[in-house]
Protein backbone atom coordinates (compact mmCIF):
# COMPACT_ATOMS: atom_id res chain seq x y z
CA UNK A 1 0.00 0.00 0.00
CA UNK A 2 3.05 2.25 0.62
CA UNK A 3 3.48 2.95 -3.08
CA UNK A 4 -0.16 3.22 -3.92
CA UNK A 5 -0.88 6.13 -6.23
CA UNK A 6 -4.61 6.67 -6.60
CA UNK A 7 -6.23 7.11 -9.97
CA UNK A 8 -8.65 10.01 -9.77
CA UNK A 9 -10.87 11.00 -12.65
CA UNK A 10 -11.50 14.73 -12.75
CA UNK A 11 -14.38 16.17 -14.76
CA UNK A 12 -13.36 19.80 -15.15
CA UNK A 13 -15.51 22.56 -16.59
CA UNK A 14 -14.04 24.16 -19.71
CA UNK A 15 -14.76 27.72 -18.58
CA UNK A 16 -13.30 27.70 -15.12
CA UNK A 17 -11.76 24.68 -13.44
CA UNK A 18 -10.09 23.43 -16.59
CA UNK A 19 -8.54 26.86 -17.01
CA UNK A 20 -7.62 26.86 -13.36
CA UNK A 21 -5.73 23.62 -13.92
CA UNK A 22 -4.09 25.21 -16.94
CA UNK A 23 -3.15 28.24 -14.92
CA UNK A 24 -1.73 26.09 -12.14
CA UNK A 25 0.38 24.43 -14.81
CA UNK A 26 1.72 27.61 -16.40
CA UNK A 27 2.30 29.22 -12.99
CA UNK A 28 4.27 26.10 -12.00
CA UNK A 29 2.06 25.46 -8.99
CA UNK A 30 2.79 21.91 -7.92
CA UNK A 31 -0.01 19.41 -7.57
CA UNK A 32 -0.05 15.63 -7.68
CA UNK A 33 -0.37 14.06 -11.13
CA UNK A 34 -3.06 11.64 -9.94
CA UNK A 35 -6.00 13.36 -11.56
CA UNK A 36 -6.88 12.22 -15.09
CA UNK A 37 -8.60 15.30 -16.44
CA UNK A 38 -11.64 15.06 -18.65
CA UNK A 39 -12.71 18.43 -19.98
CA UNK A 40 -16.46 18.99 -20.09
CA UNK A 41 -18.30 22.08 -21.27
CA UNK A 42 -19.94 22.58 -17.88
CA UNK A 43 -20.23 20.74 -14.57
CA UNK A 44 -23.90 20.34 -15.51
CA UNK A 45 -22.77 18.08 -18.34
CA UNK A 46 -21.52 15.46 -15.89
CA UNK A 47 -24.11 12.73 -15.97
CA UNK A 48 -24.13 10.56 -12.82
CA UNK A 49 -23.51 7.70 -15.22
CA UNK A 50 -20.03 9.11 -16.01
CA UNK A 51 -19.12 8.99 -12.34
CA UNK A 52 -20.50 5.49 -11.80
CA UNK A 53 -18.76 4.22 -14.90
CA UNK A 54 -15.46 5.71 -13.76
CA UNK A 55 -15.71 3.88 -10.42
CA UNK A 56 -16.76 0.64 -12.07
CA UNK A 57 -13.78 0.87 -14.44
CA UNK A 58 -11.21 1.29 -11.73
CA UNK A 59 -11.13 4.92 -10.58
CA UNK A 60 -10.15 5.27 -6.92
CA UNK A 61 -11.80 8.67 -6.74
CA UNK A 62 -13.84 11.06 -8.88
CA UNK A 63 -13.75 14.84 -8.75
CA UNK A 64 -16.28 17.12 -10.40
CA UNK A 65 -15.19 20.72 -10.66
CA UNK A 66 -17.09 23.70 -11.99
CA UNK A 67 -17.62 27.43 -11.78
CA UNK A 68 -18.67 28.93 -8.46
CA UNK A 69 -22.41 29.01 -7.82
CA UNK A 70 -23.87 31.96 -9.72
CA UNK A 71 -20.98 32.02 -12.21
CA UNK A 72 -21.86 29.16 -14.52
CA UNK A 73 -21.50 29.95 -18.20
CA UNK A 74 -24.83 28.27 -18.75
CA UNK A 75 -26.52 30.18 -15.95
CA UNK A 76 -27.91 27.51 -13.61
CA UNK A 77 -26.30 24.29 -14.71
CA UNK A 78 -23.84 24.10 -11.86
CA UNK A 79 -26.74 24.19 -9.40
CA UNK A 80 -28.08 21.18 -11.22
CA UNK A 81 -24.64 19.62 -10.91
CA UNK A 82 -24.76 20.33 -7.18
CA UNK A 83 -28.14 18.66 -6.71
CA UNK A 84 -27.03 15.64 -8.69
CA UNK A 85 -23.83 15.49 -6.73
CA UNK A 86 -25.60 15.22 -3.37
CA UNK A 87 -28.08 12.72 -4.70
CA UNK A 88 -25.35 10.57 -6.13
CA UNK A 89 -23.16 10.96 -3.09
CA UNK A 90 -25.88 9.74 -0.73
CA UNK A 91 -26.42 6.76 -3.01
CA UNK A 92 -22.73 5.94 -3.22
CA UNK A 93 -22.25 6.21 0.52
CA UNK A 94 -25.23 3.88 1.01
CA UNK A 95 -23.41 1.43 -1.25
CA UNK A 96 -20.36 1.55 0.95
CA UNK A 97 -18.20 4.10 -0.85
CA UNK A 98 -16.08 6.27 1.41
CA UNK A 99 -17.31 9.88 0.99
CA UNK A 100 -13.78 11.22 0.41
CA UNK A 101 -13.66 9.36 -2.89
CA UNK A 102 -16.23 11.61 -4.53
CA UNK A 103 -15.83 15.37 -4.34
CA UNK A 104 -17.38 18.48 -5.82
CA UNK A 105 -15.09 21.49 -6.12
CA UNK A 106 -15.73 25.05 -7.28
CA UNK A 107 -12.77 26.80 -8.87
CA UNK A 108 -12.80 29.83 -11.12
CA UNK A 109 -10.34 30.31 -13.97
CA UNK A 110 -8.19 32.43 -11.67
CA UNK A 111 -8.06 29.89 -8.84
CA UNK A 112 -5.22 27.68 -9.99
CA UNK A 113 -3.84 27.60 -6.47
CA UNK A 114 -7.16 26.61 -4.91
CA UNK A 115 -7.73 23.83 -7.43
CA UNK A 116 -4.21 22.53 -6.90
CA UNK A 117 -4.86 22.42 -3.15
CA UNK A 118 -8.18 20.65 -3.61
CA UNK A 119 -6.50 18.05 -5.80
CA UNK A 120 -3.72 17.61 -3.31
CA UNK A 121 -6.17 17.19 -0.43
CA UNK A 122 -8.28 14.68 -2.29
CA UNK A 123 -5.28 12.72 -3.50
CA UNK A 124 -4.00 12.45 0.07
CA UNK A 125 -7.38 11.32 1.36
CA UNK A 126 -7.79 8.69 -1.32
CA UNK A 127 -4.21 7.51 -0.95
CA UNK A 128 -4.90 6.95 2.72
CA UNK A 129 -8.05 4.96 1.90
CA UNK A 130 -6.18 2.70 -0.49
CA UNK A 131 -7.24 1.21 -3.80
CA UNK A 132 -10.95 0.89 -4.49
CA UNK A 133 -11.02 -1.89 -7.11
CA UNK A 134 -14.80 -1.83 -7.24
CA UNK A 135 -15.14 -4.49 -9.94
CA UNK A 136 -13.52 -7.04 -7.64
CA UNK A 137 -16.63 -6.82 -5.50
CA UNK A 138 -18.39 -9.09 -7.95
CA UNK A 139 -15.51 -11.38 -8.85
CA UNK A 140 -16.53 -15.00 -9.19
CA UNK A 141 -16.85 -17.07 -6.07
CA UNK A 142 -13.66 -19.12 -5.67
CA UNK A 143 -15.79 -22.25 -5.27
CA UNK A 144 -17.86 -21.57 -8.37
CA UNK A 145 -16.02 -23.73 -10.92
CA UNK A 146 -16.00 -26.68 -8.60
CA UNK A 147 -19.67 -26.29 -7.75
CA UNK A 148 -20.61 -26.17 -11.44
CA UNK A 149 -18.53 -29.22 -12.26
CA UNK A 150 -20.11 -31.03 -9.38
CA UNK A 151 -23.57 -30.47 -10.86
CA UNK A 152 -22.42 -31.74 -14.24
CA UNK A 153 -20.96 -34.85 -12.64
CA UNK A 154 -24.07 -35.56 -10.58
CA UNK A 155 -26.29 -35.19 -13.62
CA UNK A 156 -24.12 -37.47 -15.72
CA UNK A 157 -24.19 -40.12 -13.00
CA UNK A 158 -27.96 -39.79 -12.77
CA UNK A 159 -28.29 -40.26 -16.51
CA UNK A 160 -26.23 -43.45 -16.33
CA UNK A 161 -28.41 -44.85 -13.60
CA UNK A 162 -31.58 -44.29 -15.63
CA UNK A 163 -30.32 -45.55 -18.99
Amino acid sequence: MENFEPKIVGFLCNWCSYRAADLAGSARIKYPPNVRVIRVMCSGRVDPAFVLKAFSMGADGVMVAGCHPGECHYIEQNYKAMRRFYMLKQTLVAMGLEPQRFELVWASAAEGQQLAEAIERMTDNVRRLGPLRWAENWADDPQREEALQHIVKEHEEALEVIS
Binding site: L52, K53, M87, W138, I151, A158
Partner: protein, 338 residues
Protein backbone atom coordinates in the same frame (compact mmCIF):
# COMPACT_ATOMS: atom_id res chain seq x y z
CA UNK B 1 -45.58 -26.57 -40.90
CA UNK B 2 -44.03 -28.36 -37.96
CA UNK B 3 -44.51 -26.88 -34.54
CA UNK B 4 -41.84 -24.81 -32.85
CA UNK B 5 -40.36 -25.91 -29.56
CA UNK B 6 -40.86 -23.68 -26.54
CA UNK B 7 -39.27 -23.82 -23.09
CA UNK B 8 -39.81 -21.71 -19.98
CA UNK B 9 -37.55 -21.71 -16.99
CA UNK B 10 -37.13 -19.79 -13.77
CA UNK B 11 -34.17 -19.03 -11.56
CA UNK B 12 -33.99 -16.41 -8.76
CA UNK B 13 -37.46 -14.93 -9.13
CA UNK B 14 -40.76 -14.85 -7.28
CA UNK B 15 -42.79 -16.91 -9.74
CA UNK B 16 -44.90 -13.98 -10.86
CA UNK B 17 -43.46 -14.14 -14.37
CA UNK B 18 -44.70 -17.74 -14.70
CA UNK B 19 -48.19 -16.60 -13.81
CA UNK B 20 -47.92 -13.58 -16.09
CA UNK B 21 -47.59 -15.99 -19.01
CA UNK B 22 -51.05 -17.29 -18.21
CA UNK B 23 -52.25 -13.68 -18.31
CA UNK B 24 -52.39 -13.98 -22.08
CA UNK B 25 -55.66 -15.84 -21.40
CA UNK B 26 -57.09 -17.84 -24.29
CA UNK B 27 -54.02 -17.02 -26.38
CA UNK B 28 -52.33 -19.77 -24.40
CA UNK B 29 -54.27 -22.13 -26.69
CA UNK B 30 -52.69 -20.44 -29.70
CA UNK B 31 -49.34 -20.91 -28.04
CA UNK B 32 -50.09 -24.60 -27.61
CA UNK B 33 -51.11 -24.74 -31.28
CA UNK B 34 -47.91 -23.09 -32.49
CA UNK B 35 -45.44 -24.62 -30.07
CA UNK B 36 -44.67 -27.89 -28.39
CA UNK B 37 -43.90 -26.93 -24.84
CA UNK B 38 -40.86 -29.10 -24.25
CA UNK B 39 -39.91 -27.84 -20.79
CA UNK B 40 -41.79 -25.73 -18.26
CA UNK B 41 -41.25 -27.10 -14.74
CA UNK B 42 -43.82 -24.76 -13.23
CA UNK B 43 -46.68 -26.00 -15.41
CA UNK B 44 -45.74 -29.24 -17.13
CA UNK B 45 -44.00 -32.43 -16.18
CA UNK B 46 -40.56 -32.19 -17.69
CA UNK B 47 -37.19 -33.07 -16.26
CA UNK B 48 -33.80 -31.45 -16.58
CA UNK B 49 -32.42 -34.71 -17.92
CA UNK B 50 -34.91 -34.53 -20.81
CA UNK B 51 -33.43 -31.18 -21.75
CA UNK B 52 -29.88 -32.49 -21.34
CA UNK B 53 -30.66 -35.20 -23.89
CA UNK B 54 -31.98 -32.75 -26.50
CA UNK B 55 -29.64 -31.78 -29.32
CA UNK B 56 -28.01 -28.36 -28.90
CA UNK B 57 -30.04 -25.55 -30.45
CA UNK B 58 -33.14 -27.70 -30.77
CA UNK B 59 -35.42 -25.47 -28.69
CA UNK B 60 -36.70 -22.60 -30.82
CA UNK B 61 -37.54 -20.21 -28.00
CA UNK B 62 -36.73 -20.17 -24.30
CA UNK B 63 -38.30 -17.61 -22.00
CA UNK B 64 -36.01 -17.48 -18.99
CA UNK B 65 -37.05 -15.56 -15.91
CA UNK B 66 -35.05 -14.96 -12.76
CA UNK B 67 -31.55 -13.81 -11.92
CA UNK B 68 -28.58 -16.08 -11.21
CA UNK B 69 -27.91 -16.50 -7.51
CA UNK B 70 -26.72 -20.12 -7.25
CA UNK B 71 -24.49 -22.54 -9.12
CA UNK B 72 -27.52 -24.60 -10.04
CA UNK B 73 -29.19 -21.58 -11.64
CA UNK B 74 -26.00 -20.81 -13.52
CA UNK B 75 -25.89 -24.41 -14.75
CA UNK B 76 -29.50 -24.15 -15.95
CA UNK B 77 -28.81 -20.82 -17.68
CA UNK B 78 -25.90 -22.43 -19.53
CA UNK B 79 -27.98 -25.48 -20.39
CA UNK B 80 -30.94 -23.49 -21.69
CA UNK B 81 -28.59 -21.25 -23.65
CA UNK B 82 -26.96 -24.22 -25.32
CA UNK B 83 -30.23 -25.90 -26.18
CA UNK B 84 -32.10 -22.81 -27.40
CA UNK B 85 -31.94 -20.90 -30.66
CA UNK B 86 -33.48 -17.79 -29.11
CA UNK B 87 -33.02 -17.04 -25.41
CA UNK B 88 -35.16 -14.27 -23.95
CA UNK B 89 -34.44 -12.65 -20.59
CA UNK B 90 -38.06 -12.64 -19.50
CA UNK B 91 -39.05 -10.12 -16.87
CA UNK B 92 -37.13 -7.78 -14.64
CA UNK B 93 -35.18 -10.42 -12.67
CA UNK B 94 -33.52 -11.96 -15.71
CA UNK B 95 -33.23 -8.57 -17.38
CA UNK B 96 -31.80 -6.48 -14.52
CA UNK B 97 -31.84 -8.48 -11.28
CA UNK B 98 -35.02 -6.95 -9.84
CA UNK B 99 -35.84 -7.32 -6.14
CA UNK B 100 -33.65 -10.41 -5.60
CA UNK B 101 -30.79 -8.29 -6.95
CA UNK B 102 -31.25 -5.79 -4.12
CA UNK B 103 -29.69 -8.41 -1.89
CA UNK B 104 -26.48 -7.36 -3.66
CA UNK B 105 -26.38 -4.72 -0.94
CA UNK B 106 -25.30 -7.63 1.28
CA UNK B 107 -23.40 -10.85 0.74
CA UNK B 108 -23.93 -14.54 1.40
CA UNK B 109 -22.85 -14.33 5.01
CA UNK B 110 -25.14 -11.41 5.80
CA UNK B 111 -28.06 -13.06 4.01
CA UNK B 112 -27.52 -16.36 5.80
CA UNK B 113 -27.19 -14.52 9.12
CA UNK B 114 -30.60 -12.98 8.52
CA UNK B 115 -32.20 -16.27 7.59
CA UNK B 116 -30.47 -18.78 9.87
CA UNK B 117 -29.41 -16.72 12.83
CA UNK B 118 -31.35 -13.52 13.32
CA UNK B 119 -34.50 -14.50 11.46
CA UNK B 120 -37.37 -14.36 13.91
CA UNK B 121 -39.82 -16.34 11.81
CA UNK B 122 -37.78 -18.34 9.36
CA UNK B 123 -35.51 -20.14 11.75
CA UNK B 124 -36.20 -19.27 15.34
CA UNK B 125 -34.00 -21.91 16.85
CA UNK B 126 -30.68 -22.77 15.40
CA UNK B 127 -28.40 -23.00 18.41
CA UNK B 128 -25.68 -24.84 16.53
CA UNK B 129 -25.70 -22.18 13.84
CA UNK B 130 -26.22 -24.61 10.96
CA UNK B 131 -25.70 -23.17 7.50
CA UNK B 132 -26.38 -24.73 4.13
CA UNK B 133 -23.23 -26.49 2.92
CA UNK B 134 -22.46 -27.17 -0.73
CA UNK B 135 -21.48 -30.74 0.21
CA UNK B 136 -22.47 -32.74 3.29
CA UNK B 137 -21.30 -36.21 4.17
CA UNK B 138 -23.98 -38.61 5.34
CA UNK B 139 -23.64 -42.37 5.90
CA UNK B 140 -25.30 -43.01 2.54
CA UNK B 141 -22.84 -40.82 0.64
CA UNK B 142 -22.48 -37.16 -0.24
CA UNK B 143 -25.38 -34.76 -0.33
CA UNK B 144 -25.04 -31.55 -2.28
CA UNK B 145 -26.75 -28.20 -2.34
CA UNK B 146 -26.25 -25.46 -4.92
CA UNK B 147 -23.55 -22.95 -4.04
CA UNK B 148 -25.11 -19.64 -3.03
CA UNK B 149 -23.19 -16.75 -4.59
CA UNK B 150 -22.41 -13.47 -2.85
CA UNK B 151 -23.53 -11.50 -5.88
CA UNK B 152 -26.65 -12.06 -7.94
CA UNK B 153 -25.97 -11.75 -11.64
CA UNK B 154 -28.39 -10.99 -14.40
CA UNK B 155 -28.93 -13.50 -17.18
CA UNK B 156 -26.79 -11.57 -19.65
CA UNK B 157 -23.95 -11.31 -17.14
CA UNK B 158 -24.01 -15.11 -17.18
CA UNK B 159 -24.77 -16.22 -20.75
CA UNK B 160 -25.46 -14.53 -24.07
CA UNK B 161 -29.01 -13.23 -24.28
CA UNK B 162 -30.86 -12.61 -27.55
CA UNK B 163 -33.76 -10.46 -26.37
CA UNK B 164 -35.19 -8.82 -23.29
CA UNK B 165 -38.80 -8.59 -22.24
CA UNK B 166 -39.01 -6.02 -19.45
CA UNK B 167 -41.44 -5.71 -16.56
CA UNK B 168 -42.14 -7.05 -13.10
CA UNK B 169 -43.85 -9.02 -14.46
CA UNK B 170 -44.10 -8.36 -18.21
CA UNK B 171 -47.54 -7.22 -19.29
CA UNK B 172 -49.68 -9.91 -20.91
CA UNK B 173 -50.17 -7.88 -24.05
CA UNK B 174 -46.42 -7.45 -24.43
CA UNK B 175 -45.81 -11.16 -23.87
CA UNK B 176 -48.30 -11.99 -26.57
CA UNK B 177 -46.82 -9.36 -28.91
CA UNK B 178 -43.37 -10.87 -28.37
CA UNK B 179 -44.64 -14.39 -29.09
CA UNK B 180 -46.30 -13.16 -32.26
CA UNK B 181 -43.06 -11.44 -33.29
CA UNK B 182 -41.24 -14.76 -32.85
CA UNK B 183 -43.89 -16.70 -34.77
CA UNK B 184 -43.92 -14.24 -37.62
CA UNK B 185 -40.16 -13.90 -37.64
CA UNK B 186 -40.46 -10.15 -37.08
CA UNK B 187 -38.02 -9.79 -34.24
CA UNK B 188 -36.05 -6.58 -33.74
CA UNK B 189 -32.23 -6.65 -34.01
CA UNK B 190 -30.58 -9.13 -31.68
CA UNK B 191 -29.85 -7.77 -28.23
CA UNK B 192 -32.82 -5.41 -28.15
CA UNK B 193 -35.59 -5.03 -25.68
CA UNK B 194 -38.85 -6.16 -27.21
CA UNK B 195 -41.25 -3.33 -26.49
CA UNK B 196 -41.70 0.40 -26.62
CA UNK B 197 -38.83 2.84 -26.67
CA UNK B 198 -40.07 5.90 -24.81
CA UNK B 199 -40.90 6.44 -21.12
CA UNK B 200 -43.90 5.84 -18.89
CA UNK B 201 -44.48 9.62 -18.83
CA UNK B 202 -45.39 9.39 -22.52
CA UNK B 203 -48.23 7.02 -21.66
CA UNK B 204 -49.31 8.89 -18.55
CA UNK B 205 -52.41 11.08 -18.85
CA UNK B 206 -51.45 13.37 -15.95
CA UNK B 207 -50.83 17.07 -16.50
CA UNK B 208 -47.29 18.34 -16.31
CA UNK B 209 -46.46 21.97 -15.71
CA UNK B 210 -42.70 22.00 -15.02
CA UNK B 211 -43.36 22.66 -11.38
CA UNK B 212 -40.43 22.27 -8.99
CA UNK B 213 -40.61 20.92 -5.48
CA UNK B 214 -39.27 21.68 -2.01
CA UNK B 215 -39.95 18.29 -0.50
CA UNK B 216 -40.27 14.67 -1.48
CA UNK B 217 -43.14 12.90 0.23
CA UNK B 218 -43.28 9.20 1.04
CA UNK B 219 -46.36 7.57 -0.49
CA UNK B 220 -48.12 7.27 2.86
CA UNK B 221 -47.69 10.94 3.71
CA UNK B 222 -50.03 12.48 1.16
CA UNK B 223 -52.98 11.61 -1.01
CA UNK B 224 -52.11 13.11 -4.37
CA UNK B 225 -54.71 14.69 -6.62
CA UNK B 226 -55.65 12.67 -9.68
CA UNK B 227 -55.00 15.27 -12.35
CA UNK B 228 -51.46 16.44 -12.00
CA UNK B 229 -48.10 14.80 -12.38
CA UNK B 230 -47.22 12.88 -9.21
CA UNK B 231 -43.62 14.00 -9.31
CA UNK B 232 -44.72 17.62 -9.33
CA UNK B 233 -46.77 16.82 -6.25
CA UNK B 234 -43.61 15.67 -4.52
CA UNK B 235 -43.84 11.91 -4.94
CA UNK B 236 -40.80 10.13 -6.33
CA UNK B 237 -42.39 8.95 -9.56
CA UNK B 238 -39.93 6.97 -11.67
CA UNK B 239 -41.98 7.29 -14.84
CA UNK B 240 -39.49 9.81 -16.20
CA UNK B 241 -36.73 7.20 -16.37
CA UNK B 242 -38.76 4.05 -16.99
CA UNK B 243 -39.54 2.31 -20.27
CA UNK B 244 -43.07 2.63 -21.53
CA UNK B 245 -45.16 -0.46 -22.17
CA UNK B 246 -47.41 -0.86 -19.15
CA UNK B 247 -49.73 1.99 -20.12
CA UNK B 248 -48.68 3.93 -17.00
CA UNK B 249 -50.56 1.48 -14.80
CA UNK B 250 -49.45 2.82 -11.44
CA UNK B 251 -49.91 6.58 -11.97
CA UNK B 252 -53.39 5.79 -13.29
CA UNK B 253 -54.32 4.40 -9.89
CA UNK B 254 -52.74 7.34 -8.06
CA UNK B 255 -49.55 5.53 -7.21
CA UNK B 256 -46.10 6.58 -8.42
CA UNK B 257 -44.24 4.44 -10.91
CA UNK B 258 -41.47 2.53 -9.14
CA UNK B 259 -39.64 1.64 -12.32
CA UNK B 260 -40.42 -2.01 -12.95
CA UNK B 261 -39.94 -1.85 -16.72
CA UNK B 262 -36.33 -0.76 -16.41
CA UNK B 263 -34.57 1.94 -18.38
CA UNK B 264 -35.69 3.15 -21.79
CA UNK B 265 -33.54 2.89 -24.89
CA UNK B 266 -30.01 4.21 -24.73
CA UNK B 267 -29.78 4.26 -20.92
CA UNK B 268 -27.16 1.97 -19.43
CA UNK B 269 -27.57 2.81 -15.77
CA UNK B 270 -31.16 3.26 -14.70
CA UNK B 271 -30.40 4.90 -11.37
CA UNK B 272 -28.10 7.46 -12.96
CA UNK B 273 -30.87 8.50 -15.30
CA UNK B 274 -33.39 8.72 -12.48
CA UNK B 275 -31.08 10.68 -10.18
CA UNK B 276 -30.42 13.14 -12.98
CA UNK B 277 -34.10 13.63 -13.62
CA UNK B 278 -35.01 13.98 -9.94
CA UNK B 279 -32.19 16.44 -9.32
CA UNK B 280 -33.79 18.70 -11.91
CA UNK B 281 -37.07 19.04 -10.05
CA UNK B 282 -35.64 20.05 -6.68
CA UNK B 283 -36.28 23.72 -6.10
CA UNK B 284 -33.22 24.82 -4.19
CA UNK B 285 -29.76 26.23 -4.75
CA UNK B 286 -28.62 25.89 -1.19
CA UNK B 287 -26.34 22.93 -0.45
CA UNK B 288 -27.69 22.41 3.08
CA UNK B 289 -31.29 22.52 1.99
CA UNK B 290 -30.65 20.23 -0.97
CA UNK B 291 -29.04 17.63 1.26
CA UNK B 292 -31.93 17.84 3.69
CA UNK B 293 -34.55 17.46 0.97
CA UNK B 294 -32.80 14.34 -0.33
CA UNK B 295 -32.07 12.78 3.06
CA UNK B 296 -35.60 13.31 4.40
CA UNK B 297 -37.50 12.46 1.26
CA UNK B 298 -35.35 9.60 -0.03
CA UNK B 299 -34.09 7.76 3.04
CA UNK B 300 -33.27 4.65 1.00
CA UNK B 301 -31.53 5.99 -2.10
CA UNK B 302 -30.35 2.62 -3.47
CA UNK B 303 -33.74 1.01 -2.98
CA UNK B 304 -35.39 4.00 -4.64
CA UNK B 305 -33.09 4.54 -7.61
CA UNK B 306 -32.18 0.91 -8.18
CA UNK B 307 -35.19 -0.98 -6.89
CA UNK B 308 -35.23 -3.20 -9.97
CA UNK B 309 -31.83 -2.65 -11.49
CA UNK B 310 -29.05 -2.79 -8.91
CA UNK B 311 -27.54 -6.01 -10.28
CA UNK B 312 -27.49 -4.55 -13.81
CA UNK B 313 -26.13 -1.15 -12.79
CA UNK B 314 -22.55 -0.03 -13.37
CA UNK B 315 -21.65 -0.79 -9.77
CA UNK B 316 -23.80 -3.96 -9.50
CA UNK B 317 -23.60 -4.26 -5.72
CA UNK B 318 -22.48 -2.62 -2.51
CA UNK B 319 -18.93 -2.41 -1.37
CA UNK B 320 -19.91 -2.39 2.28
CA UNK B 321 -20.10 -6.16 2.46
CA UNK B 322 -17.51 -6.77 -0.20
CA UNK B 323 -18.34 -9.27 -2.83
CA UNK B 324 -17.13 -12.76 -3.05
CA UNK B 325 -14.11 -11.20 -1.44
CA UNK B 326 -15.32 -12.51 1.90
CA UNK B 327 -15.13 -15.98 0.46
CA UNK B 328 -11.87 -15.24 -1.32
CA UNK B 329 -10.14 -14.42 1.94
CA UNK B 330 -10.36 -18.00 3.09
CA UNK B 331 -11.13 -20.32 0.23
CA UNK B 332 -12.33 -23.70 1.41
CA UNK B 333 -12.36 -26.08 -1.54
CA UNK B 334 -15.57 -28.11 -1.72
CA UNK B 335 -13.53 -31.28 -1.81
CA UNK B 336 -11.80 -30.45 1.45
CA UNK B 337 -15.18 -30.08 3.11
CA UNK B 338 -16.58 -33.25 1.61
Amino acid sequence: MSKGKLALYWAASCGGCEIAVLGIDEHILDVAKAFDIVFWPCATDGKVRDVEKMPDGSIDLCLFNGGIRTSEQEYMAQLMRRKSKVLVAFGSCAHEGCIPGLANLYNRKAIFDTVYKEGSTTFPENPQDHRPQPITDVPEGKLSLPLFYDTLKTLDQTVEVDYYLPGCPPEAKNIWAALVAVLEGKLPPKGSVIGLHTTVCDECPRKRSEKKIKKFYRTWEIIPDEENCLLEQGLVCCGIATRAGCGALCPQVNSPCIGCHGPNDGVEDYGARLMSALASVIDSQDPEEIQRIIAEGIPDPVGTFYRFSLAASYLRRSKAFGGDGAAAAQPTPLAAKA
